[in-house]
Symmetry: D2
Subunit: 352 residues, 4 copies
């Protein structure tokens, strides 16, 4: 409802800048009585943590979330849960150039246009560092929907897709790309290494599949489950596209080919719909794909202007992900959990 | 915020079923003093009206919106504007089969799963007829953002794309497909005719481009302009994908190729971002693409189950669009206007 | 959330002006499967209907609500319920003076200050006629909380209070004042008759008591049950004060006298709290008192200014309630039902 | 919108328990470019700080707010402002009895009924300690409405009112009761001392008057300025009643006596309306009165039950305000500022 809050009854608000003292989230509307400690949140933050491989930014952040409220004797009390993550490895000086010049493709220019001032240290509020707050909040959301299993992974980097025939869920945690195809992961090593050496960056496509969502979550018409997911995913830094099920490919199918025919027992013969029809879950797997553009902050010099409107060249020297989509996986998973937790509670509110 | 409302300060709520007595919208938060009569709304409804060519449903609806409140002596008063459109050409009997059987790909099954009952007459609330209410509300939204120019059109039907080199804005209003490429429009006639004759349906991709949006609309992080647009577009019936600017194609570009380099005077050398960076408009054209799946209601018999779970075949005999994406154009435009009106007022609220 | 909507998950929006073609409400978030027809709504509208005695306005309105959506085969479907009430007995000409002059105490001046224009026909949107929409919506809310029993009544008119010792619930429906004390009702006849003959008006205090609310509805801190009730009641036309339980009188009690001591079995020895502690229901009766000011529209000439700022005298000749608080009773009851329905669903959302 | 958030475009959310590590607020939607440091917030917290006189709780809290985000180089950036106040003087052991027994009149029982568990340390979330977060957030709100002047004060303690004829604004800051009447302040010293010695507590009535609000803030119908204020004030701990202008006394006036007649130049001959008509400000002073019940936590033993439902006696030994209404003054002022800041921005959104 507000600018930095998301959700309707299970809600979270995030705050904090990339190089301020800390970032955080306040989770409100959480059901009471859930067992919760920092240990429930940390594994998800660890998946997203920078510096865990040479394929992500080299900023070193322990990303340890502290719970400051809303938990008593190890259980949620139903009151707001305040999460705080200290920023440890700030280097605002790296961003001196960004203070005046606008990185093409980055939010620098738009922020200045809107607010007439801007916290330029590492992008301030527009930094992907904010997504740590989402991942922490998502760790709580997962506890609200224990019946679902959420699996995100990268299906394409720099235009090089996985081979669906080689899909192996066990591979996802075994390589630094959250890649379900071992061969693709090997190719991507070289691809990402080379791109970083060039001072450039790569885009990626992340897919997220969820099992265990019962039929009936979501609601017409402006809180459709897919509309909520689209908003949630598009709000992630660097995301430029979202599709559900067969998505854009559906537009190329005939009605009978896109139909998910049904059999007795709630069985479906296909899942082009991505588990959502009329904005409501069907009981099939939820399938979402999210397009991440290549990081805007690159070493290669680009033509731009400065705050005074003078033309200049800019080369971003701060520590950045060569492919921000990789670390997008835990963020996509978190937003999925946050949407589903909210929808579960909303469904319970209306339909008991 | 609620299930059938959209927007934050410029808000609208819609109500009504496909074969009930009427449908409508209530628009709240509209600035006072705007000249408004039914004549401002009707042209947009006429663009969406069924039965205007053989390529859309043959249901005959005059779709005349009446203004029941919020206007006095020809001007908006700042109070809620109630819009009502009578349903004239109802034929609920056409839907007898749908009453018990679930159309694969349609919302029938999901609605029953959620609510345990369902208005099956033409899909009830899940019918695309609801989009008339959005188009009417969008007609008011357009008055709030007179500085922008919104142009929607179809860029692909059934996998057959337009030739971008033949793009001619004047063509859009000259054929029944809102197609900017005369040659493609000719091909689509045969394609859609043939598909309808087969008792099947086609998907489509709609693009919408907006000029005149100043830099600065939108806001971090969960009310990003692109997140709002993604939610708005995904809430439209049959939509399965949304992308901004280069969208999914951005994921295949290198950082320097995807960057929109800048020159003095707020000029950009490219527009991969689709006019939005960090969730805030940059002053470039806003560009959105929306994927419509093929209509689920087709004559071809499909395997399905009925309410009792028994397997059966279903063939939808009601009047339906062979390609619902075509009439999606005015709906996409309306949702664009509604998002922009809200964002303009929100920006004014925070930044003066 | 928006200007003309109320509620969080069970929400309603109202629209319409006193002398426009109709007024109405859209109720969203209603649970599915509830038996609902116009007959469930009409009795409440009849309680509020003008012209039912000589102590209310003589405007003749049948106030028949039609249900335009959200109900199928006699049951709510979970989709928006659109209610419409035609305005039948409009006499906008009665308000010629109001078009230019501002009635002291009325919203005329404030509306012009805010919107720079104003529908002056009977007060337009600021008319108490809008409350018919609330009462209709409240009729639906009552179906959501069948476990509660809501009883409103007038406890004071023009400074003349009832005798609590003579409180007789059966009296409430037996006189035109919703008065539980037969002797007071007799006194009020003369009081109201005399005041109307003087061209003046009277204030009143309405009390509303609710049994059957279980402990646990409401929530800290800004959606406290009492905060929601305060907002709901203060939004009613002519209301200037709201108190819960002992209210202002609590401020004059010592801690031990104001405490509601407890006994086994959830029994309380007193109910100073009015059934709400910490913003959450305690299982005791909910008790709210609401102060209505005397109607601003009176025949007695008052000093005022016109739109141009010139000083003038104004005498309101339209048909008006000599004591608007009387017809406030069904409105207070409706707002109570609307708040409780919302809170019940919210509680279910969070706590299952 | 959510349980622990308040506001529509200028919004704040609070978190934290009385005896947890810290409490805080996140303020969202603040206009950019405002000069802001901790020094702008601290004076208001100091007014509310416990232990500043013998008439308030003896808990010693420095109540120093830290700004963790949303400010850059001394100016607000338009992004969320995170405020944190460490809890320093926790003594959870004082509350051992409260862990099992329910204090009559306190939220203990209702929280357990709702959530099935409860942070009993000093009332946890239901503690008036939460109001420090509001006061901090209010300090920011004040910067958004520099045109207004907000003055709160106590007009009655334990049934002993001030003499309006002796009203002296300068007195308010000169005594520990925020009392504008020197003689009353002297009487209250003895009254409060005696009550505390008795192990009891007192109620109070706080009035707040605001000058400088232009005509036009607020909006029909469910976001009326007075409805927002009623909700804001009723959400404060221990508040049981709210009235605007003449409030309940209006119910005892005749129409002509309650009318605020007007003269040229936007002048009014009276202010029974408390500066609000039809939910919109009139340009007169805003006047609100708020009733605080006596503190529920008293030393005198009271009959109650414990978690198991067994009857027992409870005597609250923690440190508590003998008259919580006194420290209510800065809280009422803060809520006033928070409502006005939101309404100012909302008015700007709709009306420019």
């Amino acid at each position: 409802m507000s600018f930095n809050s998301f959700g309707r009854v299970f809600r979270f608000s995030t705050w904090g800048e990339s190089h301020g003292p800390a970032i955080g989230a306040v989770v409100d509307g959480c059901p009471p009585g859930l067992a919760l400690s920092e240990a429930d949140i940390q594994p998800w933050l660890d998946k997203r943590r920078p510096g865990s491989s040479r394929f992500t930014t080299q900023r070193r952040e322990p990303d340890q979330a502290r719970i400051l409220s809303g938990v008593f004797e190890g259980r949620t009390t139903g009151t707001p849960i305040s999460l705080m993550i200290d920023n440890v490895d700030q280097r605002p000086k790296d961003y001196a150039e960004v203070a005046t010049g606008y990185r093409p493709g980055h939010a620098d220019y738009a922020y200045d246009a809107k607010y007439s001032l801007r916290d330029w240290r590492g992008g301030g509020r527009s930094s992907a560092r904010e997504t740590a707050s989402r991942v922490a909040a998502g760790g709580i959301a997962r506890l609200v929907v224990p019946e679902v299993s959420i699996q995100g992974y990268v299906v394409e980097i720099g235009g090089d897709p996985i081979d669906r025939g080689s899909f192996d869920t066990d591979q996802i945690a075994s390589n630094p790309f959250f890649c379900p195809d071992a061969a693709a992961a090997t190719r991507w090593e070289a691809l990402v290494d080379g791109t970083r050496a060039d001072g450039s960056s790569l885009g990626a496509i992340v897919e997220c599949i969820v099992s265990g969502v019962p039929a009936g979550w979501g609601a017409p018409l402006y809180a459709k489950l897919d509309a909520e997911l689209a908003s949630a995913m598009m709000s992630i830094n660097a995301v430029k596209g979202v599709e559900i099920g067969s998505g854009f490919a559906s537009a190329r199918l005939r009605g009978e080919d896109n139909a998910d025919e049904m059999r007795a027992g709630g069985k479906f013969l296909a899942n082009h719909s991505g588990g959502i029809a009329g904005g409501i879950s069907t009981g099939q797997d939820i399938v979402v794909r999210v397009a991440f553009k290549p990081t805007s902050s690159i070493l290669k010099p680009l033509q731009t202007v400065d705050r005074d409107g003078s033309e200049t060249k800019i080369s971003t020297k701060g520590r950045h992900d060569p492919c921000v989509g990789i670390r997008g996986v835990p963020v996509v998973e978190a937003m999925m959990a946050l949407v589903l937790a909210d929808q579960k509670l909303l469904h319970r509110a209306q339909c008991g």
